[in-house]
Symmetry: C2
Subunit: 336 residues, 2 copies
Amino acid sequence: MQNTQVLLAARPVGFPKLSDFRVVQTELPELKEGEALVEVIYLSVDPYMRGRMSEGKSYAAPMQIGDVMVGGVVGRVLRSNDPSLSYGDYVEGFLGWQKYGIAPAKQLRKLDPAAGPLSAALSVMGMPGLTAYFGLLDICKPKRGETVVVSGAAGAVGSIVGQIARLKGCQVVGIAGTDAKVKWLTEELGFDSAFNYKTAPDIYAKLKDLCSKGIDCYFDNVGGTITDAVFGLLNPNARIAICGQISQYNNVKPELGPRNLSQILVKTATVRGFLVMQYLDQAREALIEMGGWLREGKLKYRETFVDGLANAPQAFLGILQGDNTGKMLVRVAPER
Amino acid sequence: MQNTQVLLAARPVGFPKLSDFRVVQTELPELKEGEALVEVIYLSVDPYMRGRMSEGKSYAAPMQIGDVMVGGVVGRVLRSNDPSLSYGDYVEGFLGWQKYGIAPAKQLRKLDPAAGPLSAALSVMGMPGLTAYFGLLDICKPKRGETVVVSGAAGAVGSIVGQIARLKGCQVVGIAGTDAKVKWLTEELGFDSAFNYKTAPDIYAKLKDLCSKGIDCYFDNVGGTITDAVFGLLNPNARIAICGQISQYNNVKPELGPRNLSQILVKTATVRGFLVMQYLDQAREALIEMGGWLREGKLKYRETFVDGLANAPQAFLGILQGDNTGKMLVRVAPER
């Protein structure tokens, strides 16, 4: 059986190019004992993939040239060599950029299509939602009345962070890159305020104006000059969750910036980098709570779809430059 | 009664000069109800005082021009308007750079001269010792077998940090600024290794060599390029206590450096600034444990004395350039 795969063709230098990817036709291997064959319906493209394309040491080994691009998917089981899955079951798993994927059944999460849209398993009810949930609640630990700032606020993670912070009684300020995103955050998602960093004449002054009581919690998806401005406004004992640094991912040479450790010292702040994988044992409980908020209409989300596996590279380049509002997904096959 | 005081004469620009201080003779005010008059014996000079001399916002209000320089002292009670203190009692308190100080008795800690040298109340059994204790144990949380790196390792705080980390079964690497300090750390204090950052051709390479299993805990007193090198060698889930940033205190303009948040992210590290004041409610228990280690010979310390209050500015400039080994103290009056 023929498969279509998107491979890493070259390590990007700076901002990735379409030529860094290659679409190939390959033959699917035989299904082994305990494995399932899955037809991919939705593919998630996420900023962290940029890190895996580079050679540098990180929390996960880098991809090698010629590897299938990594990524989470939602799909449908076509064949199963494991009693836990049957033909037609919907599953979520880490199968990568391809039309069909094979994985041990125990690495696939079975989805209930009656519980909600399948795509949500890759957004609010999946990795981005859990990232928002644990990064905010376990690292920022926001208290009622505190001021929470979120960068990358209109992304798949940031948009959920701000809404949960509102549910916890915080004053929430979002930073995003278009006026339409700002409008969505404040008018639909209930952020107290938000602004477009690309058109603000002075990010620090704008933040100072919106955060009149200083900043207690910062959920950082972007890094760079936006984060520099936030550090200047931290309150004593501020908590900062480092979720992403998308402004830095495409630097050819590491960028210099103002040293931040003196700020961390005088504000007795805590800065912590985290990965959602660290919280997998608590994911079930978190999804139950998130599901409740969704059903009660307290949590909203948006997904941006791009059609066709061949367009996955373009969709991925899009998220690196902020084309998405909410979660960016590639529709590889129809749901049926 | 005449007093001698050292005042802040001018806000330093860059490295402080002797002319930033002024020695004056003043008349002591009347003792109020509940207060005690203390003759200063030892005055502590510490790097944090550099911050108080500047105008910038910090955890404490800056001193004003003409204020008596702040600082901890050990002294002898000459008169007391409070039943808790009597003539001849030894006390420790925050009385500043002067020959005599007046404070409410309840702000003074009574010392038992039989328990050990009086000066220790300003070093191992005082603020620097407690800073080392809580910063290491509460923030770095070192586990047996882990690698702990300490910068400013031969200072009043760093020298204690390394020894406590050894007591906890860690591999301890110290960074200091003279060969004599390095020798003291390894030959007398039991550090596993140490090196002179001023003569090391490549700090990163040296650290990499000494920390073959990476760095789990970092106790930072200095910041700057030394800290940049450490960040490149952090292990997953590293813990970093920011105690001081002495390399940055005399910068006229904030220095740029490599952005560190991506490192914090990929290593899921925790960086925390702290002040010893946050732990005052646990100080008693800590001093009991530290006292035990001292009596058992498991903890060693060194004090550098400079004679005469008029030499306090010079002693202070000395610690900013690393003249001290262990704690720097000014002997203002004899113990008798």
